[in-house]
């Protein structure tokens, strides 16, 4: 075995987005020697792209807001499939986590009385999203990045070494988790990866790993996600014996760019609608009024007049249906296009130009103005945008303990952020991801610190055998003879997922998808790369392919099993929501070279939380048997 670079830490955080950085800050603050490992340069993780804002019930703009209202909105948005405990912790802790960012130097937009301003967003009852224009993700990541640097400065003052307690390994990809299975049950011993720059391998020894790797969007062709989103964390967890839940639920954001082709899928922030933008079809009709589902009839305006009044007088009017949860809006756009009422390039129109003065648009939506001007030659202050659904976010992820974020099944493994499952149920509300990153990133840091305390002296060790196996796997694509180029395989996989496991699904197509995914397995095993190991994107993609394939299979198999439509999972052969299915989570495990799915009852929501809802609303989601027990339990 060649000499491989080796490091020993208390905890390895894989991912430098909002979740990973917040976790690392907490771990280091608890005295753990912490490494942050990420595929891109420091400060460029996917979180940087978030636009609209961070949801937190601070009540700065409407003082009626509080954690209970936020909890309620989150559960409604997720169609009551959310892990209630995660939704509760999230709603309660988000304000503290946002305020804390100001102590790190964040500069949010302000209200007149100098507090953090909050904006409206789909599914949120009150203005709730803390924001900085439409570049909130950039502010979040830069703030956390600068906090990391400030901790390093403290360490420098104390030890003379900036990196003595907290070090960033940028452009370094983890390909395997190293497991100690000596005592039977798997526990984390470390992680194995390669430097993108040189292709040299690197081994981390650590008893705890926090996964904060983000999502899986690159398994679809039309997506708002970057190359980083290859489902690495999902796959690492599954392969090491942990489990993935809710993988059938994928959020298709209703408004992605549709033209020109090369930018198809790039996000158009929901703030465009929150700030007054309306959706129209080729006949000029505001079609969202035709798509308000029964469960939401009470919360949304039914006439344009009322909807328009809401922007200035939200207390006495209901909100416009353009602000329904994303799954509803995405399906509506899809139906309009299918019915032949789409825009010239296969989307619908989104217009702010007739709703707000040009200067206001430029001030509130600067990066959207910029993006359309530069990439599509469209001036959004003067003409409508063309938009359509794009794969945006995966609700599914690693099954975790809500309080500690510990992954089920593998000791020492934690997961936070988009890679974790359960928090958002079947559909995530806009703005609830950035807050999720902070709340559960923080908790992951704490969880890892507690775990380390618990195991005290008994650290697992990395054996040469583990390293040799990981090394062999990573080098295999150079040795394969006659295999295909990774780019071709990736493009076809994305097309398959787009065509067969997309926004509207059915049993026959899902079965077809599973069969095709099966045939990809051999192609991926045989993938051939050329060139050397130094910064070779072809090789990097070849190593991502097995992860993409694993999450794609989990998605397709879970989608085939769930015979109902709910949130980010729409079956045209089972179009209705089925209250029996609300009681079930689908759990995916790696088995052989594939994925096995099984049903698992979802945790029972305690009555004090159910009591926050009216029974008439619960009746839409719960079976009568479930509600029978409740009448004594406290719901009004």
């Amino acid at each position: 075995m060649s000499q491989i670079e080796r490091h020993s830490y208390d905890v390895i955080v894989i991912g430098a987005g909002g979740a990973g950085l917040r976790a690392a800050i907490e771990a280091r603050s608890r005295g753990l020697r912490t490494a942050i490992v990420c595929k891109s340069l420091f400060g460029k993780a996917h979180t940087v792209m978030a636009e609209g804002g961070i949801a937190a019930a601070m009540g700065n703009v409407n003082s009626n807001d509080n954690w209970q209202v936020h909890f309620r909105d989150t559960m409604r948005g997720g169609k009551f499939l959310n892990n209630y405990r995660m939704a509760e912790l999230h709603a309660k802790e988000a304000p503290q986590r946002v305020w804390e960012l100001e102590t790190y130097g964040a500069l949010f937009d302000r209200t007149k009385d100098g507090k953090i301003s909050q904006r409206n967003f789909g599914g949120h009852e009150y203005p709730r999203l803390a924001h900085v224009g439409d570049r909130t993700g950039l502010e979040l990541i830069r703030t956390l990045q600068q906090k990391v640097v400030s901790l390093q400065q403290e360490d420098f003052a104390a030890t003379g070494d900036y990196e003595s307690h907290l070090k960033v390994f940028a452009e370094c990809s983890i390909t395997d988790l190293l497991l100690d299975e000596a005592s039977g049950a798997p526990r984390i011993a470390g992680a194995f990866g390669y430097w993108r720059e040189t292709g040299e391998f690197i081994v981390f020894e650590a008893p705890a790993v926090i996964l904060a790797t983000g999502g899986i969007g690159k398994s679809f062709k039309v997506t708002s996600n970057s190359w980083e989103y290859t489902g690495d964390g999902h796959a690492l967890a599954a392969r090491s014996g942990s489990r993935l839940i809710n993988m059938e639920f994928v959020q298709f954001h209703p408004t992605g760019m549709v033209w020109p082709p090369s930018v198809k899928g790039i996000l158009v922030t929901e703030s465009v609608r929150g700030d007054g933008g309306v959706l129209t079809n080729s006949e000029g009709r505001r079609f969202m009024f035709d798509y308000i589902p029964d469960v939401f009839k009470k919360q949304y305006a039914t006439t344009e007049e009322e909807a328009d009044r809401w922007y200035t007088d939200p207390d006495n009017n209901k909100r416009p249906p353009e602000l329904l949860p994303r799954d509803e809006v995405a399906r509506a756009i899809n139906s309009e296009v299918k019915a032949g009422r789409g825009s010239p390039h296969g989307g619908v129109f989104l217009d702010v130009s007739k709703r707000l003065p040009a200067e206001t648009i430029k001030a509130k939506l600067p990066s959207m103005y910029h993006q359309f001007k530069e990439l599509a030659g469209v001036d959004i202050t003067a003409e409508p945008m063309e938009v359509g659904p794009t794969c945006h976010y995966v609700m599914g992820g690693v099954e975790v303990d809500p309080d500690s974020t510990a992954a089920v099944g593998v000791a020492g493994l934690f997961a936070a952020g988009e890679v974790a499952g359960g928090m958002h149920g079947s559909n995530r509300l806009g703005g609830n991801s950035l807050s999720d990153l902070l709340v559960f990133g923080h908790r992951a840091g704490l969880g890892a610190a507690d775990y380390l305390q618990g195991i005290a002296g008994s650290r697992p060790s990395v054996t040469p055998q583990m390293v040799a196996t990981a090394e062999q796997t990573a080098l295999q694509p150079f040795h394969n003879e006659g295999g295909e180029n990774p780019y071709t395989i990736h493009a076809e996989l994305q097309q398959t997922m787009n065509d067969l496991v997309g926004i509207i699904r059915n049993g026959a197509e899902l079965a077809e998808a599973i069969a095709r995914l099966d045939s990809f397995k051999e192609r991926v095993r045989a993938v051939k790369v050329t060139g050397g190991r130094a910064f070779n994107p072809g090789w990097h993609l070849a190593l991502d392919l097995p992860n993409l394939l694993l999450v794609s299979e989990a998605l397709a198999r879970a989608a085939l099993m769930r015979e109902e439509s709910r949130g980010g999972h729409t079956r045209d052969d089972f179009p209705g929501m089925d209250n029996q299915w609300r009681q079930v989570n689908l759990v995916c495990r790696a088995e052989g070279d594939g994925i096995a799915v099984e049903k698992q009852p979802i945790p029972v929501i305690p009555s004090e939380l159910l009591g926050l809802f009216e029974v008439s609303e619960l009746e839409k989601y719960f079976t009568s048997a479930e509600l029978a027990g409740l009448s004594t339990g406290g719901a009004q």
């Binding site: 891109s40 340069l41 420091f42 400060g43 460029k44 996917h46 940087v48 792209m49 304000p95 305020w99 804390e100 100001e102 102590t103 130097g105 500069l107 949010f108 937009d109 302000r110 009385d113 100098g114 507090k115 900085v132 570049r135 993700g137 950039l138 502010e139 830069r142 600068q146 906090k147 640097v149 400030s150 390093q152 400065q153 900036y162 720059e197 970057s226 190359w227 033209w259 020109p260 082709p261 090369s262 930018v263 790039i266 990066s367 993006q371 530069e374 990439l375 599509a376 180029n485 780019y487 493009a491 790369v529 050329t530 060139g531 050397g532 910064f535 070779n536 994107p537 072809g538 090789w539």
Partner: protein, 251 residues
């Protein structure tokens, strides 16, 4: 709309390299980064390039296109004539790693030398109050996507490796200005900017402002106000005396 473009891409590593010619398909609405990706997928699978967002938000895809520092994802192909040769080379100020990827660690090292935000004493989280007009000035600088195009362009270090030690560069000057103008930062940063980060070496050519894809007015809104106030602070006789005495060895 589809045509075949002539591309010339620098390929090589820290031991050397050169321009390689390609003929490659271009479709309507595409940007330079799309063409680089097409080269990867069809002709040069190991062509090294950085990118993430493909929407001008992450600052990863910086390179020089026909000699101009640009984000590749925001450079539309229709800005070139169809028969024009498009030459793509790595950033010149930073050492090449491979092909279009350079070692930008200089910028991270400099960032680490700038003392972080110093929170005001006695103000609890949640109690920060600031007016929009007051945060706006710093917010302009926080739009920075760290593409380092300004750092790449600045002549003080572009062809002067020897200046890198003393000069933090325009990206860091806006960071200093941002902190200095932060309504609640409790540190004074002006003299430090001059003495520790090389603000004095900048001779206000404004080249940095011209290349900034975020249209941040680096020179007018950050560098010049910082320089002016450094002058004020330095010639305040009391401060001047104080800082000189403080620096005298043995005292």
């Amino acid at each position: 709309m589809t045509y075949t473009a002539k591309f010339r891409v620098w390929r090589g590593d820290d031991t050397g390299g050169g321009l390689v010619d390609f003929a490659v398909e271009v479709n309507e609405g595409e940007v330079v980064l799309d063409i680089i990706h097409r080269l990867q997928a069809t002709q040069a699978p190991d062509l090294a390039v950085r990118w993430n967002c493909k929407a001008g938000k992450c600052g990863s895809c910086s390179a020089e296109v026909n000699g101009l520092p640009r984000l590749m994802c925001m450079t539309r192909m229709n800005t070139f004539a169809e028969d024009e040769v498009v030459t793509v080379t790595p950033l010149r100020t930073f050492p090449v790693i491979r092909d279009l990827v350079t070692n930008v660690s200089f910028n991270y090292i400099k960032a680490r030398q700038i003392p972080a935000f110093a929170p005001p004493a006695g103000v609890a989280p949640g109690d920060y109050r600031m007016q929009q007009v007051d945060v706006q000035r710093s917010q302009e600088f926080r739009k920075c996507i760290e593409c380092f195009l300004c750092q790449n362009t600045c002549h003080v270090i572009r062809d002067h490796e020897e200046n890198k030690e003393a000069f933090a560069g325009p990206r860091m000057f806006i960071r200093l200005a941002e902190l200095d103008m932060h309504p609640l930062d409790s540190k004074d940063r002006k003299v430090e900017a001059q003495e520790d980060h090389g603000l004095g070496m900048c001779n206000i050519t404004k080249c940095c402002t011209e290349v900034c894809p975020e249209h941040i007015k680096i020179t007018d809104n950050a560098i010049i106000p910082m320089k002016e106030r450094v002058v004020d602070v330095k010639y305040d006789p009391l401060r001047w005396l104080g800082s000189k005495i403080g620096k005298r060895p043995g005292l």
